[in-house]
Protein backbone atom coordinates (compact mmCIF):
# COMPACT_ATOMS: atom_id res chain seq x y z
CA UNK A 1 0.00 0.00 0.00
CA UNK A 2 2.45 2.60 1.22
CA UNK A 3 5.48 1.03 -0.33
CA UNK A 4 5.08 2.56 -3.75
CA UNK A 5 6.72 5.80 -2.76
CA UNK A 6 10.18 5.93 -4.29
CA UNK A 7 10.81 9.56 -3.42
CA UNK A 8 13.96 9.80 -1.38
CA UNK A 9 14.82 6.13 -1.25
CA UNK A 10 18.20 4.62 -1.88
CA UNK A 11 18.53 2.49 -4.99
CA UNK A 12 21.14 -0.19 -4.52
CA UNK A 13 23.45 -0.67 -7.49
CA UNK A 14 27.00 0.09 -8.48
CA UNK A 15 27.99 3.21 -10.39
CA UNK A 16 30.37 6.13 -10.48
CA UNK A 17 27.70 8.34 -8.95
CA UNK A 18 27.09 5.98 -6.04
CA UNK A 19 30.80 6.04 -5.25
CA UNK A 20 31.12 9.82 -5.08
CA UNK A 21 31.63 11.50 -1.76
CA UNK A 22 28.26 12.58 -0.33
CA UNK A 23 29.57 16.12 0.08
CA UNK A 24 30.25 16.32 -3.63
CA UNK A 25 26.75 15.16 -4.37
CA UNK A 26 25.21 17.56 -1.85
CA UNK A 27 27.09 20.53 -3.30
CA UNK A 28 26.35 19.33 -6.81
CA UNK A 29 22.64 18.99 -6.14
CA UNK A 30 22.56 22.38 -4.45
CA UNK A 31 24.26 24.04 -7.40
CA UNK A 32 21.99 22.22 -9.81
CA UNK A 33 18.84 23.34 -8.00
CA UNK A 34 20.05 26.95 -7.90
CA UNK A 35 20.92 26.82 -11.59
CA UNK A 36 17.27 26.06 -12.37
CA UNK A 37 16.19 29.33 -10.82
CA UNK A 38 18.70 31.77 -12.23
CA UNK A 39 17.49 31.92 -15.82
CA UNK A 40 14.07 31.39 -17.33
CA UNK A 41 14.98 30.29 -20.77
CA UNK A 42 14.07 27.19 -22.77
CA UNK A 43 17.67 26.49 -23.77
CA UNK A 44 18.77 26.53 -20.15
CA UNK A 45 16.16 23.92 -19.30
CA UNK A 46 17.15 21.76 -22.22
CA UNK A 47 20.76 21.98 -21.13
CA UNK A 48 19.87 21.19 -17.51
CA UNK A 49 17.68 18.27 -18.58
CA UNK A 50 20.47 16.83 -20.71
CA UNK A 51 22.84 17.10 -17.79
CA UNK A 52 20.36 15.23 -15.59
CA UNK A 53 19.88 12.59 -18.25
CA UNK A 54 23.63 12.12 -18.34
CA UNK A 55 23.63 11.63 -14.57
CA UNK A 56 20.81 9.08 -14.83
CA UNK A 57 22.78 7.15 -17.45
CA UNK A 58 25.91 7.18 -15.31
CA UNK A 59 23.99 6.15 -12.20
CA UNK A 60 22.68 2.87 -13.68
CA UNK A 61 19.25 3.64 -12.28
CA UNK A 62 16.51 2.55 -14.68
CA UNK A 63 14.88 5.70 -16.16
CA UNK A 64 11.45 4.14 -15.55
CA UNK A 65 12.30 4.00 -11.87
CA UNK A 66 13.14 7.71 -11.94
CA UNK A 67 9.83 8.50 -13.60
CA UNK A 68 7.95 6.41 -11.06
CA UNK A 69 9.52 8.60 -8.38
CA UNK A 70 7.57 11.54 -9.80
CA UNK A 71 4.22 10.00 -8.93
CA UNK A 72 3.78 11.72 -5.56
CA UNK A 73 4.12 15.18 -7.08
CA UNK A 74 2.06 14.67 -10.23
CA UNK A 75 -0.90 16.42 -8.64
CA UNK A 76 1.17 19.40 -7.56
CA UNK A 77 2.75 19.57 -10.99
CA UNK A 78 -0.53 19.56 -12.89
CA UNK A 79 -2.09 22.00 -10.45
CA UNK A 80 0.75 24.51 -10.79
CA UNK A 81 0.79 24.24 -14.53
CA UNK A 82 -2.95 24.73 -14.91
CA UNK A 83 -2.95 27.63 -12.49
CA UNK A 84 -0.12 29.32 -14.35
CA UNK A 85 -1.89 28.84 -17.64
CA UNK A 86 -5.04 30.51 -16.35
CA UNK A 87 -3.83 33.45 -14.33
CA UNK A 88 -0.97 34.80 -16.41
CA UNK A 89 -2.16 37.91 -18.30
CA UNK A 90 -1.23 38.35 -21.95
CA UNK A 91 -2.27 37.50 -25.48
CA UNK A 92 -5.42 35.36 -25.32
CA UNK A 93 -5.37 32.21 -27.41
CA UNK A 94 -8.36 30.34 -26.02
CA UNK A 95 -11.44 31.25 -24.00
CA UNK A 96 -13.52 28.62 -22.23
CA UNK A 97 -16.52 30.08 -20.42
CA UNK A 98 -14.84 32.49 -17.96
CA UNK A 99 -11.39 31.01 -18.20
CA UNK A 100 -8.85 32.40 -20.58
CA UNK A 101 -5.64 30.78 -21.63
CA UNK A 102 -2.91 33.12 -22.74
CA UNK A 103 0.16 32.54 -24.81
CA UNK A 104 2.33 33.84 -21.98
CA UNK A 105 0.43 31.53 -19.62
CA UNK A 106 1.23 28.43 -21.66
CA UNK A 107 4.84 29.46 -21.83
CA UNK A 108 4.94 30.14 -18.12
CA UNK A 109 3.25 26.80 -17.38
CA UNK A 110 5.77 24.91 -19.45
CA UNK A 111 8.65 26.64 -17.70
CA UNK A 112 7.16 25.94 -14.30
CA UNK A 113 6.52 22.32 -15.21
CA UNK A 114 10.06 21.83 -16.47
CA UNK A 115 11.52 23.54 -13.43
CA UNK A 116 9.53 21.49 -10.96
CA UNK A 117 10.21 18.23 -12.72
CA UNK A 118 13.95 18.88 -12.89
CA UNK A 119 13.92 20.07 -9.29
CA UNK A 120 12.38 16.87 -7.97
CA UNK A 121 14.30 14.56 -10.26
CA UNK A 122 17.55 16.34 -9.46
CA UNK A 123 17.12 15.91 -5.75
CA UNK A 124 15.88 12.35 -6.23
CA UNK A 125 19.09 11.65 -8.08
CA UNK A 126 21.01 12.43 -4.92
CA UNK A 127 18.90 10.37 -2.53
CA UNK A 128 18.72 7.45 -4.93
CA UNK A 129 22.49 7.22 -5.17
CA UNK A 130 23.41 7.97 -1.55
CA UNK A 131 22.54 5.98 1.54
CA UNK A 132 20.87 8.03 4.27
CA UNK A 133 23.82 7.43 6.57
CA UNK A 134 26.31 8.84 4.11
CA UNK A 135 23.99 11.69 3.31
CA UNK A 136 23.68 12.88 6.89
CA UNK A 137 27.35 12.24 7.34
CA UNK A 138 28.13 14.52 4.44
CA UNK A 139 25.70 17.12 5.70
CA UNK A 140 27.33 17.07 9.11
CA UNK A 141 30.73 17.67 7.59
CA UNK A 142 29.52 20.43 5.31
CA UNK A 143 27.82 22.21 8.19
CA UNK A 144 30.79 21.78 10.52
CA UNK A 145 31.79 25.47 10.34
CA UNK A 146 28.46 26.34 11.93
CA UNK A 147 29.68 24.74 15.14
CA UNK A 148 31.64 27.95 15.69
CA UNK A 149 28.40 29.83 16.16
CA UNK A 150 27.11 27.11 18.53
CA UNK A 151 24.79 25.33 16.11
CA UNK A 152 24.42 21.72 17.38
CA UNK A 153 25.47 20.29 14.03
CA UNK A 154 26.15 16.77 15.21
CA UNK A 155 22.85 16.51 17.03
CA UNK A 156 20.93 17.78 14.02
CA UNK A 157 22.64 15.24 11.79
CA UNK A 158 21.96 12.45 14.28
CA UNK A 159 18.30 13.41 14.47
CA UNK A 160 18.07 13.42 10.71
CA UNK A 161 19.64 10.03 10.32
CA UNK A 162 17.41 8.52 12.99
CA UNK A 163 14.35 10.03 11.35
CA UNK A 164 15.40 8.71 7.95
CA UNK A 165 16.09 5.32 9.43
CA UNK A 166 12.66 5.19 11.01
CA UNK A 167 10.57 6.23 8.05
CA UNK A 168 10.55 2.82 6.34
CA UNK A 169 10.10 1.05 9.67
CA UNK A 170 7.09 3.14 10.56
CA UNK A 171 5.66 2.70 7.07
CA UNK A 172 5.89 -1.06 7.46
CA UNK A 173 4.33 -0.79 10.85
CA UNK A 174 1.45 1.31 9.51
CA UNK A 175 0.89 -1.22 6.79
CA UNK A 176 0.80 -4.06 9.29
CA UNK A 177 -1.52 -2.29 11.72
CA UNK A 178 -3.90 -1.30 8.92
CA UNK A 179 -4.08 -4.88 7.78
CA UNK A 180 -4.65 -6.12 11.29
CA UNK A 181 -7.54 -3.70 11.75
CA UNK A 182 -8.94 -4.60 8.33
CA UNK A 183 -8.97 -8.19 9.52
CA UNK A 184 -11.14 -7.00 12.40
CA UNK A 185 -13.53 -5.37 9.98
CA UNK A 186 -12.20 -1.81 9.99
CA UNK A 187 -13.06 0.23 6.92
CA UNK A 188 -10.76 3.02 5.79
CA UNK A 189 -12.40 3.87 2.51
CA UNK A 190 -16.12 4.45 2.77
CA UNK A 191 -17.95 7.27 4.50
CA UNK A 192 -17.50 11.01 4.61
CA UNK A 193 -14.40 12.87 5.70
CA UNK A 194 -15.22 12.80 9.41
CA UNK A 195 -15.94 9.10 9.34
CA UNK A 196 -12.72 8.47 7.47
CA UNK A 197 -10.74 10.54 9.96
CA UNK A 198 -12.33 8.61 12.80
CA UNK A 199 -11.48 5.31 11.19
CA UNK A 200 -7.81 6.25 11.48
CA UNK A 201 -7.87 6.19 15.27
CA UNK A 202 -7.40 2.41 15.43
CA UNK A 203 -4.30 2.87 13.26
CA UNK A 204 -2.80 5.98 14.82
CA UNK A 205 -3.02 4.90 18.45
CA UNK A 206 -1.05 1.66 17.99
CA UNK A 207 1.32 3.46 15.63
CA UNK A 208 2.18 6.13 18.18
CA UNK A 209 2.56 3.57 20.92
CA UNK A 210 4.93 1.60 18.77
CA UNK A 211 6.88 4.70 17.76
CA UNK A 212 7.37 5.65 21.38
CA UNK A 213 8.35 2.12 22.27
CA UNK A 214 10.92 2.08 19.49
CA UNK A 215 12.24 5.50 20.43
CA UNK A 216 12.60 4.34 23.99
CA UNK A 217 14.42 1.17 22.97
CA UNK A 218 16.74 3.11 20.73
CA UNK A 219 17.56 5.65 23.43
CA UNK A 220 18.29 2.80 25.78
CA UNK A 221 20.52 1.06 23.25
CA UNK A 222 22.43 4.28 22.55
CA UNK A 223 22.86 4.87 26.24
CA UNK A 224 24.10 1.33 26.72
CA UNK A 225 26.77 1.98 24.08
CA UNK A 226 27.82 5.12 25.93
CA UNK A 227 26.63 7.56 23.31
CA UNK A 228 27.00 11.06 24.68
CA UNK A 229 26.74 13.42 21.75
CA UNK A 230 29.25 14.56 19.17
CA UNK A 231 32.15 15.56 21.37
CA UNK A 232 35.26 13.46 20.84
CA UNK A 233 33.43 11.05 18.57
CA UNK A 234 35.39 9.55 15.71
CA UNK A 235 34.16 7.73 12.67
CA UNK A 236 34.89 4.29 11.38
CA UNK A 237 34.94 5.44 7.77
CA UNK A 238 35.69 9.16 7.75
CA UNK A 239 34.74 10.91 4.54
CA UNK A 240 37.65 11.60 2.27
CA UNK A 241 37.73 13.32 -1.12
CA UNK A 242 39.19 11.17 -3.87
CA UNK A 243 40.34 12.06 -7.39
CA UNK A 244 36.91 11.23 -8.80
CA UNK A 245 35.39 13.92 -6.60
CA UNK A 246 37.67 16.54 -8.12
CA UNK A 247 36.63 15.37 -11.57
CA UNK A 248 33.01 15.70 -10.47
CA UNK A 249 33.61 19.23 -9.20
CA UNK A 250 35.27 20.11 -12.47
CA UNK A 251 32.26 18.83 -14.42
CA UNK A 252 30.03 20.83 -12.12
CA UNK A 253 31.97 24.02 -12.83
CA UNK A 254 31.75 23.34 -16.56
CA UNK A 255 28.02 22.80 -16.20
CA UNK A 256 27.65 26.06 -14.34
CA UNK A 257 29.67 27.89 -16.96
CA UNK A 258 27.49 26.34 -19.65
CA UNK A 259 24.32 27.46 -17.90
CA UNK A 260 25.60 31.02 -17.52
CA UNK A 261 26.73 31.22 -21.13
CA UNK A 262 23.45 29.86 -22.44
CA UNK A 263 21.37 31.97 -20.08
CA UNK A 264 23.24 35.14 -21.00
CA UNK A 265 23.72 34.84 -24.71
CA UNK A 266 20.89 32.73 -26.09
Amino acid sequence: MLRDITLGQYYQTESKLHELDPRTKLVGTFVYLISLFVFTNAYVYIFAASFLLLCVLISHIPPTYMIKGMKPIIFLLVFTMVLNMLVTPGEVILTLWKLTITKEGVKQALYMGARLTLLVMGSNMMTLTTTPTRLTNGLERLMAPLKLIKVPVHEIAMMMSIALRFIPILMDETDRIMKAQLARGADFESGNLIKKAKSLVPVLVPLFISAFRRANDLAMAMEARCYHGGKGRTQMKPLKYRPRDFVAYLILILYLAGIILIGRYL
Binding site: A180, R184, G185, D187, P202, P206, I209
Partner: protein
Protein backbone atom coordinates in the same frame (compact mmCIF):
# COMPACT_ATOMS: atom_id res chain seq x y z
CA UNK B 1 -8.91 -38.33 11.38
CA UNK B 2 -7.58 -39.60 8.09
CA UNK B 3 -10.05 -41.29 5.86
CA UNK B 4 -13.32 -39.68 6.83
CA UNK B 5 -14.78 -37.28 4.27
CA UNK B 6 -14.57 -33.62 5.24
CA UNK B 7 -16.25 -30.68 3.68
CA UNK B 8 -13.80 -28.30 2.07
CA UNK B 9 -14.07 -24.74 3.44
CA UNK B 10 -11.34 -22.91 1.66
CA UNK B 11 -9.12 -23.54 -1.34
CA UNK B 12 -6.09 -21.55 -2.34
CA UNK B 13 -5.68 -22.38 -5.99
CA UNK B 14 -2.22 -22.02 -7.56
CA UNK B 15 -1.37 -18.75 -5.90
CA UNK B 16 1.69 -16.68 -6.77
CA UNK B 17 2.54 -13.44 -5.12
CA UNK B 18 5.35 -10.91 -5.22
CA UNK B 19 5.63 -7.92 -2.88
CA UNK B 20 7.87 -5.52 -4.70
CA UNK B 21 7.03 -5.68 -8.35
CA UNK B 22 9.39 -2.96 -9.52
CA UNK B 23 12.32 -2.90 -7.12
CA UNK B 24 15.89 -3.90 -7.68
CA UNK B 25 15.77 -7.32 -6.02
CA UNK B 26 12.55 -9.06 -6.97
CA UNK B 27 11.58 -12.44 -5.69
CA UNK B 28 8.37 -14.35 -5.30
CA UNK B 29 7.10 -14.57 -1.74
CA UNK B 30 4.66 -17.26 -2.90
CA UNK B 31 5.19 -19.37 -5.98
CA UNK B 32 2.33 -21.49 -7.25
CA UNK B 33 0.98 -22.47 -3.86
CA UNK B 34 -2.13 -24.64 -3.51
CA UNK B 35 -3.66 -25.32 -0.18
CA UNK B 36 -6.95 -26.53 1.31
CA UNK B 37 -8.65 -26.04 4.66
CA UNK B 38 -11.39 -28.53 5.55
CA UNK B 39 -14.23 -27.95 7.95
CA UNK B 40 -13.31 -28.51 11.57
CA UNK B 41 -9.73 -29.30 10.70
CA UNK B 42 -6.61 -28.23 12.55
CA UNK B 43 -3.83 -27.40 10.11
CA UNK B 44 -0.31 -26.66 11.30
CA UNK B 45 1.83 -24.51 9.03
CA UNK B 46 5.57 -24.57 9.53
CA UNK B 47 8.46 -23.10 7.62
CA UNK B 48 11.72 -21.25 8.04
CA UNK B 49 11.73 -17.48 8.60
CA UNK B 50 10.84 -15.74 5.35
CA UNK B 51 9.34 -18.84 3.74
CA UNK B 52 6.08 -17.00 3.08
CA UNK B 53 3.82 -18.23 5.88
CA UNK B 54 2.49 -14.84 6.89
CA UNK B 55 2.11 -13.88 3.25
CA UNK B 56 0.01 -16.97 2.58
CA UNK B 57 -2.15 -16.30 5.63
CA UNK B 58 -2.92 -12.80 4.40
CA UNK B 59 -4.02 -14.16 1.05
CA UNK B 60 -6.63 -16.32 2.72
CA UNK B 61 -8.75 -13.40 3.90
CA UNK B 62 -8.08 -11.13 0.93
CA UNK B 63 -5.74 -8.71 2.67
CA UNK B 64 -3.28 -9.37 -0.12
CA UNK B 65 -4.44 -10.16 -3.62
CA UNK B 66 -2.59 -12.91 -5.45
CA UNK B 67 -0.85 -12.00 -8.70
CA UNK B 68 -1.86 -15.36 -10.12
CA UNK B 69 -4.39 -17.91 -8.95
CA UNK B 70 -7.38 -17.34 -6.74
CA UNK B 71 -9.09 -18.31 -3.49
CA UNK B 72 -12.36 -20.17 -3.20
CA UNK B 73 -14.38 -19.92 -0.03
CA UNK B 74 -17.38 -22.22 0.37
CA UNK B 75 -17.19 -22.86 -3.32
CA UNK B 76 -17.20 -19.21 -4.40
CA UNK B 77 -14.32 -17.34 -6.01
CA UNK B 78 -13.60 -14.46 -3.66
CA UNK B 79 -12.28 -12.27 -6.47
CA UNK B 80 -15.48 -12.64 -8.45
CA UNK B 81 -17.23 -9.32 -8.98
CA UNK B 82 -19.66 -8.50 -6.20
CA UNK B 83 -18.22 -10.96 -3.69
CA UNK B 84 -18.44 -9.50 -0.19
CA UNK B 85 -14.84 -9.56 0.93
CA UNK B 86 -15.60 -7.81 4.19
CA UNK B 87 -17.88 -10.68 5.14
CA UNK B 88 -15.06 -13.01 4.11
CA UNK B 89 -12.82 -11.29 6.64
CA UNK B 90 -15.39 -12.01 9.29
CA UNK B 91 -15.57 -15.66 8.36
CA UNK B 92 -11.82 -16.07 8.10
CA UNK B 93 -10.51 -14.54 11.31
CA UNK B 94 -6.83 -13.69 11.21
CA UNK B 95 -4.74 -13.15 14.32
CA UNK B 96 -1.50 -11.49 13.26
CA UNK B 97 1.97 -12.04 14.59
CA UNK B 98 2.29 -10.02 17.80
CA UNK B 99 -1.40 -9.07 17.78
CA UNK B 100 -1.05 -7.15 21.03
CA UNK B 101 0.50 -4.34 18.98
CA UNK B 102 -2.88 -3.50 17.43
CA UNK B 103 -4.75 -2.75 20.63
CA UNK B 104 -6.05 0.80 20.85
CA UNK B 105 -9.26 1.03 22.88
CA UNK B 106 -9.58 2.33 26.43
CA UNK B 107 -10.94 -0.87 27.94
CA UNK B 108 -10.56 -4.54 27.22
CA UNK B 109 -14.28 -4.86 26.67
CA UNK B 110 -14.42 -2.05 24.07
CA UNK B 111 -11.40 -3.52 22.35
CA UNK B 112 -13.14 -6.83 21.89
CA UNK B 113 -16.35 -5.08 20.77
CA UNK B 114 -14.46 -3.35 17.94
CA UNK B 115 -14.66 -6.29 15.56
CA UNK B 116 -18.33 -7.21 16.05
CA UNK B 117 -19.38 -3.58 15.67
CA UNK B 118 -17.41 -3.22 12.45
CA UNK B 119 -19.10 -6.26 11.03
CA UNK B 120 -22.49 -4.76 11.65
CA UNK B 121 -23.68 -6.48 14.81
CA UNK B 122 -25.85 -4.23 16.96
CA UNK B 123 -24.69 -3.04 20.38
CA UNK B 124 -26.33 -5.80 22.36
CA UNK B 125 -25.14 -8.58 20.07
CA UNK B 126 -21.60 -7.16 20.00
CA UNK B 127 -21.45 -7.02 23.75
CA UNK B 128 -22.78 -10.52 24.22
CA UNK B 129 -20.40 -11.87 21.66
CA UNK B 130 -17.49 -9.93 23.18
CA UNK B 131 -18.36 -11.23 26.63
CA UNK B 132 -18.41 -14.80 25.40
CA UNK B 133 -15.10 -14.35 23.57
CA UNK B 134 -13.32 -12.88 26.59
CA UNK B 135 -14.57 -15.80 28.66
CA UNK B 136 -13.37 -18.27 26.05
CA UNK B 137 -9.80 -17.01 26.07
CA UNK B 138 -9.76 -17.33 29.83
CA UNK B 139 -9.29 -13.74 30.91
CA UNK B 140 -10.38 -13.07 34.48
CA UNK B 141 -13.55 -11.02 35.02
CA UNK B 142 -11.81 -8.13 36.71
CA UNK B 143 -9.96 -7.36 33.46
CA UNK B 144 -13.08 -6.31 31.60
CA UNK B 145 -12.81 -2.63 32.34
CA UNK B 146 -9.03 -2.39 32.61
CA UNK B 147 -7.05 -0.62 29.95
CA UNK B 148 -5.61 -3.27 27.64
CA UNK B 149 -2.25 -1.54 27.95
CA UNK B 150 -2.02 -2.36 31.65
CA UNK B 151 -2.17 -6.10 31.08
CA UNK B 152 0.76 -8.48 30.83
CA UNK B 153 2.06 -9.56 27.43
CA UNK B 154 0.23 -12.88 27.53
CA UNK B 155 -3.01 -11.29 28.61
CA UNK B 156 -2.77 -8.67 25.88
CA UNK B 157 -2.42 -11.43 23.38
CA UNK B 158 -5.53 -13.10 24.73
CA UNK B 159 -7.41 -9.84 24.34
CA UNK B 160 -6.28 -9.65 20.72
CA UNK B 161 -7.34 -13.22 20.09
CA UNK B 162 -10.68 -12.59 21.79
CA UNK B 163 -11.22 -9.58 19.56
CA UNK B 164 -11.03 -11.86 16.54
CA UNK B 165 -13.07 -14.66 18.12
CA UNK B 166 -15.82 -12.17 18.95
CA UNK B 167 -16.73 -11.83 15.28
CA UNK B 168 -17.56 -15.56 15.21
CA UNK B 169 -15.20 -16.69 12.46
CA UNK B 170 -15.55 -20.06 10.76
CA UNK B 171 -11.83 -20.43 10.20
CA UNK B 172 -9.39 -19.06 12.73
CA UNK B 173 -5.91 -18.36 11.46
CA UNK B 174 -3.21 -17.64 14.00
CA UNK B 175 0.24 -16.48 13.06
CA UNK B 176 2.67 -17.65 15.73
CA UNK B 177 0.36 -16.99 18.66
CA UNK B 178 2.87 -18.29 21.18
CA UNK B 179 5.89 -16.27 20.03
CA UNK B 180 7.53 -14.50 22.94
CA UNK B 181 5.43 -16.13 25.68
CA UNK B 182 6.85 -18.01 28.63
CA UNK B 183 6.39 -21.81 28.77
CA UNK B 184 3.35 -21.57 31.01
CA UNK B 185 1.77 -18.94 28.79
CA UNK B 186 2.39 -21.09 25.75
CA UNK B 187 0.91 -24.16 27.36
CA UNK B 188 -2.22 -22.31 28.42
CA UNK B 189 -2.65 -20.73 25.04
CA UNK B 190 -2.26 -24.02 23.21
CA UNK B 191 -4.84 -25.62 25.49
CA UNK B 192 -7.20 -22.78 24.84
CA UNK B 193 -6.75 -23.18 21.09
CA UNK B 194 -7.43 -26.88 21.28
CA UNK B 195 -10.56 -26.31 23.33
CA UNK B 196 -11.76 -23.83 20.71
CA UNK B 197 -11.48 -26.45 18.05
CA UNK B 198 -13.28 -29.03 20.12
CA UNK B 199 -16.08 -26.89 21.49
CA UNK B 200 -16.77 -24.66 18.49
CA UNK B 201 -15.99 -26.92 15.60
CA UNK B 202 -13.81 -24.13 14.24
CA UNK B 203 -11.27 -24.85 11.52
CA UNK B 204 -7.91 -23.67 12.73
CA UNK B 205 -4.75 -22.82 10.86
CA UNK B 206 -1.81 -22.43 13.19
CA UNK B 207 1.51 -21.00 12.05
CA UNK B 208 4.17 -22.07 14.48
CA UNK B 209 7.85 -22.56 14.97
CA UNK B 210 7.32 -25.15 17.65
CA UNK B 211 7.35 -28.63 16.14
CA UNK B 212 6.07 -30.12 19.39
CA UNK B 213 2.99 -27.91 19.34
CA UNK B 214 2.00 -28.63 15.78
CA UNK B 215 2.83 -32.31 16.11
CA UNK B 216 0.57 -32.59 19.12
CA UNK B 217 -2.35 -30.53 17.90
CA UNK B 218 -2.55 -30.59 14.14
CA UNK B 219 -4.50 -33.05 12.02
CA UNK B 220 -2.38 -32.06 9.09
CA UNK B 221 0.93 -30.30 8.67
CA UNK B 222 1.90 -28.07 5.78
CA UNK B 223 5.57 -27.25 5.33
CA UNK B 224 6.67 -24.19 3.39
CA UNK B 225 10.07 -23.40 2.02
CA UNK B 226 11.04 -20.35 -0.06
CA UNK B 227 7.50 -19.66 -1.20
CA UNK B 228 6.63 -23.26 -2.06
CA UNK B 229 4.64 -25.88 -0.20
CA UNK B 230 6.95 -28.83 0.22
CA UNK B 231 4.89 -31.23 2.31
CA UNK B 232 1.21 -31.39 3.11
CA UNK B 233 0.35 -34.50 5.07
CA UNK B 234 -0.36 -36.09 8.44
CA UNK B 235 2.16 -35.08 11.12
CA UNK B 236 3.86 -38.45 11.37
CA UNK B 237 4.35 -38.69 7.63
CA UNK B 238 5.72 -35.17 7.42
CA UNK B 239 8.14 -35.70 10.27
CA UNK B 240 9.39 -38.89 8.64
CA UNK B 241 11.17 -36.48 6.29
CA UNK B 242 13.15 -35.07 9.16
CA UNK B 243 16.38 -35.02 7.17
CA UNK B 244 14.83 -32.82 4.47
CA UNK B 245 13.23 -30.65 7.14
CA UNK B 246 16.61 -30.07 8.68
CA UNK B 247 17.97 -28.93 5.35
CA UNK B 248 15.24 -26.29 5.30
CA UNK B 249 16.33 -25.04 8.70
CA UNK B 250 13.50 -26.86 10.49
CA UNK B 251 13.54 -29.89 12.72
CA UNK B 252 11.38 -32.78 13.81
CA UNK B 253 10.03 -32.94 17.38
CA UNK B 254 12.71 -33.70 19.97
CA UNK B 255 11.27 -37.10 20.81
CA UNK B 256 11.83 -38.36 17.29
CA UNK B 257 15.53 -37.80 17.73
CA UNK B 258 15.52 -39.68 21.01
CA UNK B 259 13.85 -42.60 19.30
CA UNK B 260 16.25 -42.44 16.38
CA UNK B 261 19.16 -42.66 18.81
CA UNK B 262 17.59 -45.57 20.62
CA UNK B 263 17.04 -47.36 17.37
CA UNK B 264 20.62 -46.72 16.32
CA UNK B 265 21.73 -48.14 19.67
CA UNK B 266 19.98 -51.37 18.81
CA UNK B 267 16.59 -51.05 20.50
CA UNK B 268 13.65 -52.05 18.42
CA UNK B 269 11.49 -48.94 18.82
CA UNK B 270 9.15 -47.09 16.49
CA UNK B 271 10.65 -43.87 15.27
CA UNK B 272 7.51 -42.02 14.21
CA UNK B 273 6.87 -40.90 17.76
CA UNK B 274 6.20 -37.20 18.15
CA UNK B 275 5.35 -36.45 21.76
CA UNK B 276 6.70 -37.37 25.12
CA UNK B 277 3.74 -39.51 26.20
CA UNK B 278 4.00 -41.68 23.14
CA UNK B 279 7.73 -41.97 23.64
CA UNK B 280 7.21 -43.07 27.22
CA UNK B 281 4.80 -45.81 26.18
CA UNK B 282 7.09 -46.99 23.44
CA UNK B 283 10.10 -47.16 25.74
CA UNK B 284 8.11 -48.90 28.45
CA UNK B 285 6.90 -51.38 25.86
CA UNK B 286 10.40 -52.50 24.98
CA UNK B 287 11.82 -52.57 28.49
CA UNK B 288 9.00 -54.63 29.94
Amino acid sequence: MAGDKKKIKLIADHISFEYDKSGANRHKALDDVSFVVNEGEFVGLIGHTGSGKSTLMQQLNALLKPDKGTIYYDGLDIYEKGYDRKELRRRVGLVFQYPEHQLFEDTVFNEVCFGPKNFGMDKKQSELSAYAAIKKVGLPDECFYHSPFDLSGGQKRRVAIASVLAVKPEILIMDEPTAGLDPKGREELMEMILSLKESEGLSIVLVSHSMEDVAKLADRIVVMDKGHIVYDDEPKKVFAHYKELEEMGLAAPEMMYVMQELKAAGFNVRTDVTDIEEAKEEILRIVT
